[in-house]
């Protein structure tokens, strides 16, 4: 239906070069004329994001207002940053922040590195059947529910009878404040490493096989093939995912850590998400929990923006 092509548009752009200073309307019209197809391609996504992500954001003002149900969700008295200050002055604040950052950083770093290594390893398998088998097996744990994962942890770590616990004395690791972080991130990596390696495997699938041949002819060893052919192929994906991961520095998924909590490990397992749950859902203080949540996202967003800015400087992969 359209005759206009970018090519033609480019030509016109060149022709218009001399009269740069045109009215904004003209420039807009020109822009749309050139890119209306791109606009159309992203219009549905824009629409959905606007409707389902931006419209509900009016609820965020709850963090600055006292929640008074009789006046509607956001009709309460404006209290400014009071709920934020409440949180900062909370005797648990320090502990919660330290726990959150410790657990999430471990999970983040290991959860970022391990899938890359696994993908590179799987890519080394020659036999198609074995490759498929390994891929399928490592991908399966992703589908086990958190409830079952935590029960399995409990069973495996039981002193005396558990397949790991029997080697570890008569107290379970689940009660140890020093070991619980490791229990958390190892099980997390175990569960998701296969799933998260899929994206890298897809990127590796894109590597031109002639590159390997060329490299082999030039005498590259196996390690060199990985280092100089495979690794560069997944690097752009890695950096994008790393940037996005940086945006979850304060995120520790709620379900699992909540199920893992017990009186013994509590000083190491109370994190922002569990605290918000206790305050918001169990105690019904929506304003307070919204404020904590907002604090959380703002910090995360700052991390993401920083990571993005760094990435933009040192490489050309960035999100925006």
């Amino acid at each position: 239906m359209a005759i206009s092509t970018a090519h033609a548009a480019r030509g016109r752009a060149a022709a218009m070069e001399p009269r740069r200073k045109r009215g904004i309307l003209d420039r807009l019209a020109d822009h749309f004329q050139r890119y209306w197809q791109l606009w159309l391609l992203c219009a549905p996504a824009l629409f959905f994001v606007a409707l389902f992500a931006y419209v509900p954001m009016w609820g965020i003002q709850l963090a600055f207002r006292e929640f008074e149900p009789s006046k509607g969700l956001t009709g309460g008295t404006f209290v400014g940053f009071q709920y934020f200050l409440d949180f900062f002055h909370n005797p648990l604040f320090g502990e919660i922040m330290v726990n959150t950052i410790r657990i999430s950083l471990w999970t983040l770093v290991m959860g970022f590195i391990c899938p890359i290594i696994l993908a590179l390893l799987i890519n080394q398998i020659g036999s198609k059947k074995v490759k498929g088998f390994v891929q399928t097996v490592t991908y399966m744990p992703h589908f086990i529910s958190v409830v079952v994962i935590v029960s399995m942890l409990n069973i495996f770590l039981t002193p005396g009878s558990g397949i790991i616990g029997r080697f570890l004395g008569d107290e379970s690791l689940m009660g140890s404040t020093s070991a619980i972080t490791a229990v958390y991130w190892i099980s997390e990596v175990w569960q998701h490493v296969g799933w998260n390696s899929i994206i890298y495997l897809a990127a590796l699938a894109g590597v031109d096989t002639s590159l390997y041949e060329a490299a082999k002819i030039d005498g590259a060893g196996r390690l060199q093939l990985i280092r100089y052919v495979d690794f560069p192929a997944i690097l752009p994906t890695c950096s994008i995912l790393l940037i996005m991961n940086m945006g979850s520095v304060l995120n520790v998924g709620f379900d699992k850590i909540y199920l893992m909590q017990n009186a013994l490990n509590m000083p190491a397992t109370e994190v922002i998400s569990t605290y918000t749950y206790k305050i918001g859902i169990l105690n019904g203080q929506y304003s307070y929990s919204t404020a904590i949540g907002l604090f959380n996202t703002v910090i995360n967003f700052l991390f993401l923006i920083t990571a993005n800015a760094i990435a933009k400087r040192v490489s050309d992969s960035s999100i925006f």
Binding site: L40, A43, P159, N262, Q285
Partner: protein, 535 residues
């Protein structure tokens, strides 16, 4: 250029068109059925896998009483927990809600909770009930307003929620007496551990088993009653947050020497292997695997639970009796030994219960008729246990018999065929229910603690469950408690696990009393409301 612009405009218009919001089409729900009869919507929190209420004779009986059509909506505990805040904020309140809201909700969303007081004349059964149970009435009053209606599941449930069980078969086999003090219990537990009371030749006995260390149902901290510090670990009252009253003065368990004694004792048992070492990290499955065992060979000597059959299963349950409340030592006077005072909660204030009505509902008269019918003798029985005559037979003279085969087909209680504890109704004291195994069993389990519990003064020794701070104070209490329990519960657990309570207790008391944690503030708040409700 002109053609380009037209095309641009068309493109822009197309883009905008996709941005037009989807047409909303939520039609107003009908308030009358096709025959012009009023519709009453009832929402109940219940296992949605159970027999649906709409198919029951109970519903037909209610409909006959109100000359209306009843529409049930059943929601699972889990789903309701997620939906509740959103539904309340969206002002979606059902005409009649069963077991959906708490009194805290009724205080916050006062506009959406009908005042039953002016309507009591239309509901003579309800009026009679509230006159007969003044404690229940206090529980649901918000100022002068009756914001919810409690339910009463009858004298069969006027029991403590927590009992301590001991394996009588083991005692007899080893020729031991039922222990009466902490020291005697310890001696018995040692024998359980070493003398193979279950006779399978393996040292697999668990002398004593505990679930957790909280202030709640089935906690070993009920041992505090041995020194006269009364607990009421049910119904979400002050006791479950860690507060009690000593002759009119509110105190906290957290700083009481009695708690220190119990913790030290539990550690003594755990250190000797009389309580499993991993007890504080296990989940519920692992716990019940040990109490129920394989259903043939008992593994557990002593534990805390609801009734012996509920705790150990129908076969092994036979082996257990309730341990009468222990004295701390032989010198403790009998009069000082108390027991968990939770019978009010067990009877009518179990968690999240209550019947609410939306004041903006369309057919108020029909609603009141439904509620009045629910609180009649016959339909109260039918609501709790099962429809009459399908599942429960009316034998006359206030006696009802549950048909065991039909009612207990799926569960050990009548949960699948009736509303059970999510009902709205009043089982009167003169009603006799035959075959209510749950009540029969728990009442039997309760006999051994009655004497001790009768020594509890319902006002001077416990903060009654109907003492309810207002919304603002509740928030303060909860925020402080989150901080207190985060620190203190961990300390208690650590001491039970590794000892050291004697040396570290004083430091702990100092730390837990620091103003930043808010323990003093909480005690003051509870004192204020305790005085207000009991003066």
């Amino acid at each position: 250029m002109a053609r380009g612009r037209v095309r641009t405009i068309i493109a822009a218009a197309a883009a905008v068109a996709t941005l037009i919001p989807l047409a909303a089409c939520s039609s107003q729900e009908a308030t009358t059925d096709e025959n012009g009869k009023p519709i009453v919507n009832i929402m109940v929190r219940r296992n949605v896998t159970d027999h649906p209420m709409r198919d029951t004779q109970y519903t037909k009986d209610l409909e006959a009483a109100c000359d209306c059509t009843i529409k049930w909506q059943e929601v699972s505990d889990n789903a309701w927990g997620q939906q509740k805040s959103a539904k309340m904020a969206a002002s979606e309140f059902p005409d009649i809600g069963l077991s959906l809201f708490s009194m805290q909700d009724a205080a916050k969303y006062a506009d959406y909770f009908d005042d039953f007081k002016p309507a009591l004349d239309k509901m003579p059964n309800v009026k009679e009930f509230l006159d007969a149970q003044p404690g229940a009435l206090k529980y649901v009053q918000e100022g002068d307003k009756i914001a919810m209606l409690p339910s009463d599941r009858g004298k069969g449930y006027e029991v403590s929620g927590t009992h301590m069980f001991i394996n009588k078969t083991w005692l007899d086999k080893l020729g031991l007496q039922v222990p009466t003090t902490w020291d005697e219990l310890e001696t018995v537990l040692k024998a359980f551990k070493t003398e193979d009371p279950n006779g399978n030749g393996k040292a697999d006995e668990i002398p004593m088993n505990i679930r957790s260390l909280g202030f709640g149902l089935w906690s070993p901290l009920t041992l505090m009653n041995s020194e006269g510090v009364v607990t009421a670990f049910m119904g979400g009252g002050a006791s479950e947050q860690g507060y009690y009253v000593d002759n009119g003065t509110v105190k906290s368990y957290y700083t009481s020497d009695t708690l220190k004694d119990v913790i030290a004792y539990l550690h003594e048992l755990l250190a000797q292997g009389l309580i499993p070492k991993d007890v504080l990290t296990r989940d519920a499955s692992q716990y019940s695997a040990q109490t129920i065992s394989d259903g043939k060979t008992a593994l557990t000597g002593v534990s805390f639970g609801w009734s012996n059959y509920a705790e150990f299963g129908n076969t092994l349950g036979e082996e257990y009796i309730t341990l009468p409340p222990l004295k701390k030592d032989a010198s403790t006077p009998d009069s000082q030994v108390k027991w968990d005072y939770s019978q009010d909660a067990a009877r009518w204030a179990y968690s999240g219960s209550g019947l609410s009505v939306n004041p903006k509902a369309a057919n108020k008269d029909a609603i009141y008729k439904v509620i009045n019918a629910m609180y009649s003798e016959k339909l109260s029985v039918a609501g709790y246990f099962g429809s009459i005559p399908d599942i429960v037979s009316d034998d006359g003279d206030h006696t009802y018999t549950i048909n065991m085969e039909k009612a207990y087909a799926e569960y050990p209680d009548t949960r699948a065929v009736a509303l059970q504890d999510r009902f709205g109704g009043w089982i009167r004291d003169d009603v006799t229910i035959v075959n209510d195994t749950n009540a029969d069993q728990v009442t039997a389990s309760d006999q051994a603690v009655r004497e001790a519990r009768d020594r509890v003064d319902p006002i001077k020794d416990v903060i009654p469950v109907y003492v309810r701070p207002d919304t603002e104070d509740t928030n303060t209490l909860q925020n402080n408690n989150t901080a207190i329990s985060n620190y203190a519960n961990n300390q208690l657990a650590k001491w039970v696990q590794s000892g050291g309570v004697e040396n570290e207790w004083d430091d702990y008391v100092k730390k837990v009393s620091e103003p930043s944690l808010g323990l003093e503030e909480n005690i003051k708040i509870w004192q204020k409301w305790y005085d207000e409700y009991t003066k």
